[in-house]
């Protein structure tokens, strides 16, 4: 395997987040009753007239701009012919020789960029389910707007292919053009795979792998296929040019069709849809809507003192980044805002199965809680109780964090005159820990602090307790 260089190119289909389908006003919805979102247009009945959805075209343009593509002022739709039960018209409306976007690249996040070939608009096909002896067809997905993003074969490992998809997904989610949810099929991927002896050798025979439908599957399918091709080449045989289907249950790719059976799609211009001209002003308006990229945000977070790891977690999703930034802005403490967002906030959203933007503790509220800790009114343990109380409050006007502090009785005790008697009492009760500490076992201090916290129900100011303890314990 080490003798061969893998060459991988990905073609990614992304469903656009519109309300309706690409050429008709049926809902673009997932998970509804089979064959409930259909009309004569998307079901391919004769004599109907497809009319492009303006928003779908614009979301495609926005995606292309987010990926740095050259958006083309003139493009057209074409018919791509093939027969399959989930394509009722017998052709798919796609774009052939004049796609709406060329070039562009995907930034892997480590300084490397993978160039793109093109992006084009097209309609999705229906969904087939294969049962013993027959197949079932659901046409709900027919006509859902897609963009197909064609990457150049410049990836050289399954891990890089994963990084490519991860980056692409972040970029498209930041541009709010798609949910990119592989589980729900809103992002799907085909891979072209070949091996060559050295990095300057001509490309080997490529195999196309279809049906790779999760991020985990991508790496597994590529690992399998690369090993299969290496074994063939090592034995002195040649790899057949073909299309193979990834079978997740068996963990293998299997032949779907050979080169001889390759499709002749007989593309020709779609006569029912006049060409699309994109004015510079239209393109510029979409450029305005492309949010700051995740790469730029990540960089900015690192410049504010966050670790590369924190910056990566916080930019995984635009809602997480937005929540963090709003909190940071309101409390002016990037580190605290990052810690809270990554731990309690993400956990709360996960446990409740809701988006971070729907949590009852809004960034402003969280910033107030952080402020109460900064000002010494509560300690971290108290802050967490306040956070959870507001999180689980009923609907209606919310308590402020300050009110929650009172209601919970978690105001921190910072007055040394109040704390010293408690410290002395605990020292008297824990003679062994005191002796251990004086013998040099500094860890014994933690046990004492723990007892003091327990006695004050977590309200003692840890810093003041530390000072008193060190003073009283010094010889």
């Amino acid at each position: 395997m080490t003798d061969w260089q893998p060459v991988i190119g990905l073609e990614v289909h992304v469903q656009l987040s519109t309300r309706t389908k690409l050429f008709c006003d049926c809902a673009n919805a997932f998970g509804t009753l089979a064959n409930s979102n259909t009309c004569p247009i998307c079901a391919g009945h004769p004599g109907v007239l497809p009319v492009p959805n303006e928003q779908a075209l614009l979301l495609g343009v926005r995606a292309a701009l987010a990926l740095g593509c050259d958006v083309q002022p003139f493009s057209k739709f074409d018919r791509k012919h093939y027969f399959y039960p989930d394509l009722p018209k017998g052709y798919q409306i796609s774009q052939y020789d004049l796609p709406f976007a060329l070039n562009g690249s995907v930034d892997l996040g480590d300084g490397r960029r993978i160039d793109l070939e093109r992006i084009h608009w097209e309609e999705d096909a229906g969904k087939s389910t294969h049962e013993a002896g027959y197949s079932l067809v659901d046409l709900n997905r027919c006509g859902v707007p897609l963009i197909e993003i064609v990457g150049k074969p410049n990836l050289h490992s399954p891990a890089d292919a994963h990084a490519f998809l991860d980056s692409l997904k972040r970029t498209l989610r930041y541009a709010t053009v798609s949910t990119c949810d592989m589980e729900k099929g809103s992002l799907r991927c085909d891979a072209n795979v070949s091996l060559r002896r050295t990095s300057d050798a001509p490309l080997g025979t490529k195999v196309e792998i279809k049906n790779v439908n999760s991020f985990k599957m991508v790496e597994r399918a590529l690992d399998f296929e690369l090993a299969r091709q290496a074994a063939i080449l090592d034995s002195g045989a040649t790899v057949a040019q073909e299309t193979r289907l990834w079978d997740e249950a068996r963990g293998e790719t299997r032949s779907m069709r050979s080169k001889e059976e390759a499709m002749d799609y007989r593309y020709f211009p779609e006569p029912d849809i006049p060409p699309i001209e994109l004015a510079t002003s239209t393109i510029d308006a979409q450029r305005e809507l492309v949010a700051e990229s995740w790469q730029t945000r990540r960089h900015r977070y690192e410049s504010a003192g966050l670790t590369a790891y924190d910056a990566s977690v916080l930019t995984a999703e635009p809602d997480i980044a937005d929540y963090f930034e709003a909190t940071w802005q309101a409390c002016d403490d990037a580190k605290q805002a990052a810690n809270w967002t990554q731990t309690d906030v993400l956990r709360a959203a996960g446990e409740r199965g809701v988006g971070i933007a729907e949590l009852r503790v809004r960034p402003n509220t969280l910033a107030e809680i952080i402020g109460l800790v900064q000002s010494g009114l509560i300690n971290f343990a108290g802050a967490r109780k306040v956070f959870n109380r507001i999180l689980d409050a009923n609907d209606g006007p919310c308590e402020t964090p300050a009110e929650a502090v009172v209601a919970l009785g978690v105001a921190q005790i910072s007055d040394p005159h109040l704390l010293e008697p408690i410290v002395r009492e605990v020292m008297g009760a824990c003679e062994k820990a005191v002796a251990d500490y004086r013998k040099g076992k500094t860890k014994a201090l933690d046990a004492l602090k723990g007892r003091i916290m327990g006695k004050t129900k977590g309200r003692a100011d840890p810093a003041v307790v530390g000072e008193i303890l060190t003073r009283l314990l010094s010889p």
Binding site: A27, A34, N35, C39, P40, K76, H130, L136, P269, P274
Partner: protein, 101 residues
């Protein structure tokens, strides 16, 4: 230009999912040749300086807003469409097996 061969006719028929007997293929080859000849009369037109265009009309950007169908639409939807299929089960069109047997 070469005259269409019966083998090419067979390939075209296969792509269009038509089953043709050899005799029919030979007859169609002759007809197709006459059709192509008729189109070749376009070759006589001087197109120097004319930009190629895939369309005969000057229409551009015919689009619609992203608004869902309303209850007042008179187009058939959903179940009406499904009922057009010859066989159905589990709210789906029932078709012959697609993957092998």
């Amino acid at each position: 230009m070469d005259k269409p061969q019966p083998t090419e006719i067979k390939v075209l028929a296969e792509l269009a999912r038509l089953r043709l007997e050899d005799q029919t293929a030979a007859r169609i080859a002759g007809q197709l040749e006459r059709i192509l000849d008729w189109f070749r009369s376009l070759d006589a037109i001087d197109t120097a300086g004319v930009e190629p265009s895939p369309y005969a009309v000057v229409l551009r950007n015919v689009t619609r807003p992203d608004e869902p169908a309303t209850a007042t639409d008179d187009l058939p939807h959903g179940q009406d469409i499904l009922n057009c299929g010859p066989e159905q089960t589990k709210d789906c069109y029932l078709v012959p097996p697609v993957l092998g047997s």
